[in-house]
Subunit: 326 residues, 2 copies
Amino acid sequence: MNEFDLIDKYFTRPPEKALLGVGDDCALLESNKGMHQCITSDMLVEGRHFLSTVDPYRLGVKSLAVNLSDLAACGATPSAFTLSLSLPQVDPHWLELFSSGIWDTALLFGMDLVGGDTTRGPLCISITAIGEVPPGDVLLRSGALEGDDIYISGTLGDAALALAVFRGFVSVDAQSFERIRTRLEQPTPRVGLGVALRGVANACIDISDGLIGDLNHILERSGVGATLGTEWINNSEAISIDMQQQSFNKRLDYVLSGGDDYELLFTASRDAREEVRFASEQSRTPVTLIGQITREKGLKVFDLRRELMQRRFTSFDHFQTHSTYD
Amino acid sequence: MNEFDLIDKYFTRPPEKALLGVGDDCALLESNKGMHQCITSDMLVEGRHFLSTVDPYRLGVKSLAVNLSDLAACGATPSAFTLSLSLPQVDPHWLELFSSGIWDTALLFGMDLVGGDTTRGPLCISITAIGEVPPGDVLLRSGALEGDDIYISGTLGDAALALAVFRGFVSVDAQSFERIRTRLEQPTPRVGLGVALRGVANACIDISDGLIGDLNHILERSGVGATLGTEWINNSEAISIDMQQQSFNKRLDYVLSGGDDYELLFTASRDAREEVRFASEQSRTPVTLIGQITREKGLKVFDLRRELMQRRFTSFDHFQTHSTYD
């Protein structure tokens, strides 16, 4: 199978929205009148972002989902993406599953695959996703205001716990493992919530490197600080059943700096609590209030007795020694 | 240096056209009223698309240039790009040179670097470029018509000759080598010519896998055939001085199926010869008439005595054994 046959067979379907999809030098998109375009790119490398044993279907889902998560964080409606793929060999079984994961996710979120590249080389997946947002409605990291509530969507720490199980550091029962490994391998991008938060949230980011690290991006960009409680770690949906079996301190690590969550972290005015609840219901996405934005810079985390915690929390960095898959 | 410092230091400058560049979950672009967006992605892998010894500045230039060449082939005006980079290590000297090559090329063609990703892994460069074209003016592979003239821009075969020198198959004098290796390592995307050919060319593609292979894409998409002469290989600017020193048959190989040329191959009506000449002058890009589109399918190449050549010409395929860098 040559390069063009491979693209034809696995990565070409007629586009729904794009004027021209795969097959020419460029794809052609028409912008909806007056809408702004959101662009994001993510690269996934074997051994760094996924285990070499991962199911190819799930890898396809995740490759697109991590980009959708960035669009969600900006409140964008997904429209199209390109896929560049470096493959060690042409394995029809692998390609069939991987491309199915890509297509199923694309269909679910109304995206056209409009182009890309395939080449032989170390397994590396690079996607650029494009979405649309009405002018003025884009959600940025820089909009957090003093007094804002801080929220997260869904549950945190599951992906990090699943990785700890893979690495043999922790064990959980088989049913729990299936659930949390799905969170690691097929994260759910919060696209519906992002769109529902247009005009409601003041700042937003997706949590990919851990809550603390990504909250710090909002604080730096917005020139503010924050206080976080930890009681929600015991009391809310923001921690899954499997995580409840871990000690509180272990849970803190997973939840605050686990990474690979692909949940939204956002801030909104105290006056907007009703709108946040409505956005959560409308998008069927649980959200949890976890803290407040402060004028004083820096991040303070309070323990269950409401005392300031002194310990440091790390965040994931692709160039430091702290890496999840090395 | 962590991932964010690296992006800040080497890959962040205020955008000229984009509403929002590097630093948030997405970049934000505003489309010019009524314009269509052209999107293209190319991935370059060490050992496959470039030699590991290549000068990092030139690699930066080439990485963006190959994407610009695709925009040129569609007649698009470049606007923005994203860069995803997998690096074996953080080498400040390498990054300084590579990013300079990227920025110099971006500046030359009026493009904003608006986002991307960096991670540790095998050296792999993935760029998605975006350009604009007025509705109806996009140049496609599918528009060639019976009787059209077939043209190429610039010179062909230089890059393939340079690679043959690198591999020790051929030798040329030092000055010639410097010139042809620049053609291999820093191709010139024909963006000006592409824009000038709007409304003039009927079909267009950029030559990356060799003239024969890329002409076949036009023929297949357009449902037509072609005849090519070979006398232009001796008589025109389409063959460089260094190539003239090779035997005619060797030259045929380099010119017809060498690859890595990044010249435009386009067709236009016989009645448009004056407009083609004007587009060439306007963009200061030499073009050469090399053949005609025929109703009868298939590609016929005629030798200097105007006899049909029986030999097969190959084209570059990233998944076949014929690979330039393996």
